[in-house]
Amino acid sequence: MAGLTPASGTTEIVATELAPLRRPGWRKSFTHRSLVIGLVLTVGLLLTALTSLFYTPYDPLAMNIADRLQRPAAAHWFGTDHYGRDLLSRIMRGATVSMTVGIIAVGIGLVVGVVLGVVAGYAGRWADEVLMRGMDALYGFPAILLALLITSVFGPGLSTSMVAIGIVNVPVFARLLRANLLVLRERDFVAAARALGATEGEVVWRHFLPNAVSPLLVQATISFPNAILAEAGLSYLGLGMQPPHPSWGSMLKEAQPFLRLAPTYAIFPGAAIALAVLGCNLLGDGLRDVLDPKVSQRR
């Protein structure tokens, strides 16, 4: 599944090609079509997830067998599932799961990847070689396989899938940061900082990392929708969020036996996944265009 394969849609962005975040182009970004559509969809997803914590039309877990498999109507806008639970409420709560997994999994990948990237860029040749070959192996290891291995050991569940998806994201961030670090350490301002007596820790913290923020931010927006897809895939297989709690992937699995009776049951959760991923992808593309005008010129 593409969603479980960070290679699809991932791009390594090196600092030399990117301009700093505070550039006049940001004013133009509000007219960038992909960015605006992506932003609207992503903010919509975020608001839905936040709202569902305080309000859903019905209790997402409350069963009502008398109302099972209802088609969309005024009482239940998206219909009901095979236990009579309101689909809109469950999809809204499912957004929280997707956002949480996206944020935590990308966060794990980002933090661990940055640490390993700095170590690889700074340690000697052998440590760098071993770390990067390890990262290559992890990168070549399909996410779904790694997730299956981890799940088979720790058992299915949301935390396990978040860790599995996070680990899959580590090599992308590690390679990205190392590549940026190798470029940045040849720059004059780094030599100047060292000449002024800055320690290596200060150079990394005050000079390297702030300059690598833009590419890391763009990569995070690219990894985020992949994490949503991966979580949905694992939940579909029964390895992610466990019932009765809603997740878009597990809702699709539950809907499959009822395709003839209630086709909309399988349409709305899938559409929610597609819209969320589309929004994040467009936002990522837009950000990349705004932060790196060379990319948009090449298109």
């Binding site: 290679a7 699809s8 291995l149 996944i273 991923v277 589309l278």
Partner: protein, 314 residues
């Protein structure tokens, strides 16, 4: 070229070593006793000790790994706890579904992705281009398992043209077997078609801006000839490289799609093994698929170096 080959071969072997280490470590090194995971709450101390000895878990870890690796290299991936047959035998029995499925999916990817990319590039900023880019964005956003469910809904539930799931043996009914793989292969290839169309478009646009293409045009060659003989031929380097990588993604992606269509391939085998806590099967399937995927990536590297001399002299 020889230096490039040696470098890539060393990287390939090292990557394979890490893949084996990862497959071994996740099951054997991480907290949690594999014997307890397999036996669950039913295991008494005596039974656990017997299983530990059977799995070689009473040996030091480096020895366990060396023993496991030696056996794995010779094709011995252990014995399934659930079925009590060699894991290798189980894997081979499921390849008749997984490999043709991935093969069909890569076929659809090529047949749809490359023409779409060419249309987009030849109608740059026109309707064909915009349409392809919209399709591409949507294709990447739609999860393969949802695409599979929608295909079942349309072609099986409403139209009744294809089976909604299951698999007929190739020996008993070859046409039926092919029919049961068509919808899964289309669902599996959708994302890859979108990615390939996008990449083909970019590669073609890049080549179309080159001076030799302008020269070919100024010589009076037809657009068609310029597009296919000059542009596509040179863009193929990027396309072929991507296709190799996509084959790996399709093999991994088949794990989910086989579960959507109830196909008895490697995906169903590994999922069943997770439910049954059959760790040797999980480890064996993962190692097998990861090795194939890493080998495909290695072959792609070699092919890339052969197709584009600039790479091997880098």
């Amino acid at each position: 070229m020889r230096r490039y080959l040696v470098r890539r071969a060393i990287a390939f072997v090292v990557t394979l070593f890490f893949v084996s280490l990862l497959s071994f470590a996740l099951i054997n090194v991480l907290p949690g006793d594999p014997a307890e995971i397999i036996m669950g709450t039913e295991g008494n101390p005596e039974a656990l000790a017997v299983l530990r000895a059977k799995l070689g878990l009473d040996q030091p870890l480096p020895r366990q790994y060396a023993h496991w690796l030696r056996r794995a290299i010779t094709g011995n991936l252990g014995v399934s706890i659930q079925y009590d047959v060699p894991v290798g035998q189980l894997i081979v029995s499921r390849l008749a579904v997984t490999f043709p499925l991935a093969g069909l999916a890569i076929g659809f990817t090529v047949l749809a992705g490359i023409p779409l990319g060419i249309i987009a590039a030849s109608h740059h900023r026109g309707c064909g281009d915009v349409g392809t880019m919209i399709f591409s964005q949507l294709g990447i956003a739609v999860p393969s398992f949802w695409a599979g469910i929608l295909l079942i809904l349309l072609f099986s539930v409403y139209l009744g043209w294809f089976p909604a799931g299951g698999f007929t043996s190739w020996v008993d009914d070859p046409v039926g077997a092919l029919r049961s793989l068509l919808l899964p292969a289309i669902a599996l290839s959708l994302v890859q078609v979108a990615v390939l169309a996008r990449t083909t478009r970019s590669a073609m646009l890049e080549v179309l801006r080159e001076d030799y293409v302008q020269t070919a045009r100024s010589k009076g060659l037809s657009d068609r000839l310029v597009l296919y003989k000059h542009a596509l031929k040179n863009a193929l380097i990027t396309i072929v490289t991507l296709l190799g990588l996509q084959l790996g993604h399709l093999l991994a992606g088949s794990i989910i799609i086989e579960n959507v269509f109830y196909l008895p391939g490697l995906g169903r085998l590994v999922l069943g093994a997770i439910s049954a806590r059959d760790l040797p099967v999980v480890q064996g399937v993962v190692l097998f698929l990861a090795t194939i995927i890493v080998s495909i990536n290695f072959a792609v590297d070699i092919l890339y170096g052969w197709l584009d001399p600039r790479i091997r002299y880098d």
